[in-house]
């Protein structure tokens, strides 16, 4: 690891000003992605601003069907939150299956979505739930937030503070894990929301998380796994790598979507 200066921020404002003052600062949350990258000498921030201890960025709030999750909330905290499980078990289940216990106790939702790994789980949930990403500066709709592979709408130095969404009528996430990394090779989050059916796919698309609109249309009239049998998923635009080619991933998207709907 290259030399870096570590700062522990105690408020969002302090984090923002520390970042402003830094040469080439980086926010540090759970460190599960950033620290390995730094150890491999693939990133060399001059300053690290640790947001994990900021009170406003921690915890899960469930008020009726209005849900808010602090950006620095760990996967384990999300997975173990009883109120959230009642309101939307799809999200707690998703969190419970990220990585391994060590990762779940350090990694955070904010770090995950800021990183926007094309095989990460949370982006599918946020997109399907029509979540809003609240930063120190603005509110960003999930639609607009996830831009491409490892790319988001965040400006330099912008801090995600929390994630908000409304509990859907039904939701479920089905993930086919990569045999090596256990990240998603295809993860499909389906949600029956007030605004209609939403289907978001992670792990499979070559431009990151996306909505499978033909499946949404099929489910809108008929919320059932059977409704998806007629939908064909094209291999065009699918990722292809040593773990599976585009045809296989297209198949997985369809199978996982069916299982997600059946699991609701």
């Amino acid at each position: 690891m290259y030399e870096t200066k570590y700062h522990k921020a105690s408020s969002v404002d302090e984090a923002v000003s520390l970042m402003g003052a830094a040469d080439d600062g980086k926010l540090l949350s759970g460190g599960q992605t950033l620290l390995p990258t730094m150890k491999a000498h693939l990133a060399a921030p001059s300053d690290l601003v640790d947001v994990s201890g900021i009170a406003d960025m921690n915890g899960v709030g469930v008020r009726g069907n209005v849900i808010s999750i602090g950006a620095a909330t760990t996967h384990a905290e999300v997975a173990g939150n009883a109120a959230l499980q009642n309101a939307c078990a799809a999200v707690t289940d998703l969190a419970a299956n990220i990585g391994d216990p060590a990762v779940r106790h350090m990694g955070t939702i904010g770090g995950s979505i800021a990183n926007n790994d094309p095989a990460a789980d949370y982006p599918a949930a946020l997109l399907a739930l029509g979540a809003t990403i609240k930063t120190n500066a603005r509110d960003i709709a999930a639609e607009d937030f996830f831009v491409g592979l490892f790319e988001t709408a965040l400006e330099d130095d912008e801090v995600i503070v929390s994630i908000g969404f409304e509990a859907p009528e039904k939701a479920c996430y089905a993930k086919f894990p990569n045999p090596a990394s256990r990240y998603a090779m295809a993860g499909v989050f389906v949600a029956k929301t007030a605004g209609g059916a939403r289907v978001a796919v992670t792990g499979a698309g070559d431009d990151g998380v996306y909505r499978q609109s033909d499946m949404e249309a099929a489910l809108d009239g008929n919320w059932s796994a059977g409704a998806l049998t007629g939908v064909s998923v094209s291999a065009d635009g699918m990722l292809s790598d040593m773990h599976g080619d585009a045809t296989y991933r297209a198949n997985l998207v369809k199978v996982m979507a069916g299982r997600a709907v059946a699991g609701c």
Partner: protein, 786 residues
């Protein structure tokens, strides 16, 4: 005897591991310790034009940056291969020069170019990045088939066509004739996937040169510290043997990968002399993926023929073995004498011919990995048998049984002379445990749940404890493969056993203790096993090839024989009885039929005080044995795997795995079961998950656990492990060895089961969900077309 042979004694070594007091190489801190980092080639093949270390050398805390020209200039020798294999035309193998630090050329990604020594690890690593190497990038070849093709990039000048050797075994003419006259033949292309060994503890070394007496000490992660010292001294000219102490302390797994002497140990020793500092290097995981010797990597075409009664008449095997960029220590023996010699399997086959072409490629060297050659052989044989059975429409178990060797000794046409076994008994036991008869009902039930269920057999045989030394010498081995032991009875009667074997997970401190406890009737806590230090232990050959039971423990038995003889003499003398009437039991030396006895510690004391021992007897009670077995041992067994495949995703779940092994005498069933579990886990890893992938430019794509899939608990079934043993006639304990069997026997069982489930035999390892799904689609498409 509750702690003797056959007892499930808990592992004595586990306390220190469980309380975090294990002492691994990286735990050792020398005074004046500096840290090494290696400058490694980012290219798979390139000429090294120049190395500019000035920026690195100028950094604070950097002690030295040393390169290959300096290393060879100081007379440090090239890395050798310890087994000479002769090509079929009589020519010796083409060993390309391998310098610990590359001089003119790099040949794989990770090839070391320079060593940086610095005050801290962080500085060493940063400085390594600052070393500027000017490369001229050359074309690359990564697989054995391409390596042999016309116009392939050439790795070594003295190996035209990248051919290391073109070796044969058996009799080609009669084999061809037998196959031509066969009533049925089966022909297959078989790939044995390349694996990364992944010992939990990465390799490490800490080298200390002491200028006061021109002496070196090397702590290293070795399975065979004496061999390491011998090779470092005799071939690499690092230091003469009496000026070099090699210690392999606790070692966290080896699986073969820690047999070899790697560039890093050589460079650390030499750098320690150059800098007058202790030099420590610990591999990180990516370095381990890049530089630890890989395993397997065979591409084979095989043909087997049967007569009208389904008896095998001939087997012809053509294999291309990828050896990587250089010849590692035993790389030549693995795809030849540990592979071709096992191609008779458990079967009576009159005609076998095997041709192996070993090939240089721009990949990390390939060498022995748990099983070493025998997994490749059993995979060929057992895939062929299952496939032939399907093609002939006969029961695969029945076909095997019809061809079993039933009389011993049995001379195969490929060198090996099987000494014992009862293959049908193992098969019976496994089939009963697996409820083979009930399989079709289980298949139907699975189908009702939308799952494809399949069953597969593997009747493996392997060879352990390679020996005797004269025979392996005549086949090209550069070393003898005996083992040594010294049994030291202390004046107070406690015992130290110094063994040339090395434990890196096998549990020797437990099992070796058990045979001593049994022999003298002593509690195991009175016995200590000492290994892994060339200053303490007489020369020994180390642990690999499941040799520590059959060879290492036999040496202990032989030394105990000598101790016993002396004890009896002392007993007879002191107790005034005839030697023939002396018995040793329950920790005492007794005169048969009387109540006269000396306690064990009294004998020890008598031997060391020497006040009252027989006239002319030397004082003391310590005996040494160097034991050279008369033959290999032949563990064998029957494995049955049952799987359920999810046709929608191609995911395989192993729903049953039954093993019936013949290991001869079992000292500690708990440890043996652990070895079998671990071996099968590795075999299932190979079959379902693991595979090293290089891209066409020679970059290692599977360079971390993000891409290299290791088996996890949930990938593995509950094993059903059984034993059905015959005694090995070749050694005093009747042992055969159990360390590798699981990894040798399991892959074909898994693949046979999956191909049975999906109805498509065209499936290669690792059978990932993606591949299995594609094979299901292909089978479906084929069916639709028919």
């Amino acid at each position: 005897m509750s702690e003797g042979i056959g007892a499930r004694v808990l592992r004595k070594e586990d306390k220190r591991f469980l309380i975090g007091k294990g002492r691994y190489t990286d735990d050792i801190i020398e005074q004046n310790q500096a840290y090494a980092a290696f400058v490694r080639s980012p290219h798979a093949h390139a000429a090294v034009k120049s190395i500019d270390a000035s920026a690195a050398e100028a950094m604070d805390g950097v002690i030295a940056v040393l390169n290959g020209a300096q290393l060879t200039g100081d007379g440090i020798g090239n890395i050798i291969c310890g087994w000479g294999v002769t090509s079929k035309d009589g020519s010796p193998m083409n060993m390309g020069a391998w310098s610990a630090l590359a001089t003119d050329k790099v040949r794989y990604v990770g090839d070391a170019v320079a060593i940086v020594v610095a005050d801290s690890l962080a500085t060493a690593r940063l400085a390594a990045e600052m070393v500027e190497v000017d490369y001229d990038v050359l074309p690359v070849v990564v697989n054995s088939v391409d390596g042999l093709s016309d116009g392939a990039p050439q790795l070594h000048e003295n190996a035209p066509g990248n051919l290391v050797f073109d070796w044969e075994l058996g009799n080609e003419g009669p084999t061809d004739a037998a196959l031509a006259g066969a009533a049925f033949t089966t022909e297959m292309d078989i790939v044995n996937n390349r694996l990364s060994p992944n010992a939990m503890e990465p390799r490490a070394a800490i080298a200390t040169f002491n200028e006061a007496d021109d002496h070196y000490t090397l702590y290293t992660t070795s399975q065979n510290p004496h061999v390491a010292r011998l090779v470092l001294s005799a071939f690499y000219n690092v230091a003469p043997e009496h000026k070099l102490r090699v210690i392999a302390p606790d070692v966290g797994g080896g699986f073969g990968s820690k047999i070899y002497i790697y560039p890093e140990e050589i460079a650390c020793l030499w750098a320690s002399m150059k800098t007058n500092r202790s030099v420590k290097w610990t591999s990180d995981r990516t370095e381990a993926f890049m530089t630890d010797a890989h395993g397997r990597d065979h591409v084979t075409h095989a043909k087997i023929g049967f007569d009208k009664d389904h008896k095998i008449v001939g087997l012809k095997v053509d294999t291309k073995a990828n050896l990587g960029a250089y010849m590692s220590l035993f790389s030549s023996a693995t795809p030849t004498y540990l592979y071709g010699t096992l191609l008779s399997g458990q079967y009576n086959i009159e005609n076998i011919y095997c041709n192996v072409k070993a090939v240089y490629t721009n990949t990390v060297p390939v060498d022995a990995y748990r099983g070493a050659g025998r997994p490749e052989a059993s995979y060929v044989m057992e895939r062929m048998m299952e496939t032939a059975a399907r093609e002939m429409g006969v029961d695969p178990a029945e076909l095997r049984r019809k061809n079993f060797v039933t009389e011993f000794p049995h001379q195969t046409p490929v060198i090996m002379a099987y000494d014992s076994g009862d293959f049908a008994a193992n098969q019976d036991q496994a089939m009963e445990a697996a409820d083979y008869a009930g399989f079709e009902a289980r298949r139907a039930e699975a189908a009702s749940r939308g799952k494809l269920r399949g069953i597969g057999f593997s009747n493996y045989i392997e060879a352990c404890g390679i020996a005797p030394s004269a025979a392996v010498g005549s086949l090209g081995a550069g070393v003898g493969l005996w083992e040594s032991a010294e049994v030291r009875v202390n004046p107070v009667g406690t015992i130290e056993v110094l063994t040339g074997s090395h434990s890196h997970g096998q549990g020797h401190e437990t099992t070796f203790t058990q045979i001593v406890a049994e022999r003298f009737g002593l509690p195991t806590e009175n016995i200590q096993i000492v290994h892994g230090d060339t200053d303490k232990v007489q020369f020994g050959m180390g642990t690999y090839g499941s040799r520590s039971g059959a060879v290492g423990m036999s040496a202990i038995v032989k030394a105990m024989d000598k101790v016993e003889a002396k004890v009896k003499k002392i007993g007879a003398h002191v107790l005034e009885a005839s030697e023939d009437d002396i018995i040793i039991e329950d920790g005492a030396v007794k005169v048969k039929g009387t109540d006269k006895q000396m306690l064990w510690h009294e004998v020890g004391l008598a031997a060391y005080t020497a006040h009252n021992i027989p006239e002319g007897m030397e004082p003391g009670l310590k005996e040494t044995s160097f034991y050279d077995p008369s033959n290999f041992t032949f563990p064998a067994g029957c494995y049955i795997c049952e799987v359920e495949v999810d046709p929608e995703t191609g995911t395989t779940q192993i729903v049953q795995f039954v093993a019936s092994d013949d290991f001869g005498t079992i000292i500690n069933p708990m440890i043996v079961e652990g070895q079998v579990h671990g071996g099968i886990a590795q075999g299932i890893g190979q079959a379902l998950l693991e595979g090293v992938v290089y891209d066409d430019s020679g970059q290692l794509l599977s360079a971390s656990y993000m891409d290299y899939a290791m088996p996890r608990a949930h990938d593995l079934p509950n094993y059903s492990v059984h034993h059905q043993s015959t005694t090995c006639p070749g050694n005093p304990l009747g042992m055969k060895g159990c360390g590798e069997a699981g990894a040798i026997g399991s892959p074909p069982a898994v693949i046979n089961a999956i191909t049975d489930a999906i109805g498509n035999n065209d499936l290669s390892m690792p059978a990932t969900p993606a591949k299995v799904w594609a094979a299901i689609q292909a089978a479906g498409a084929k069916q639709a077309a028919e």
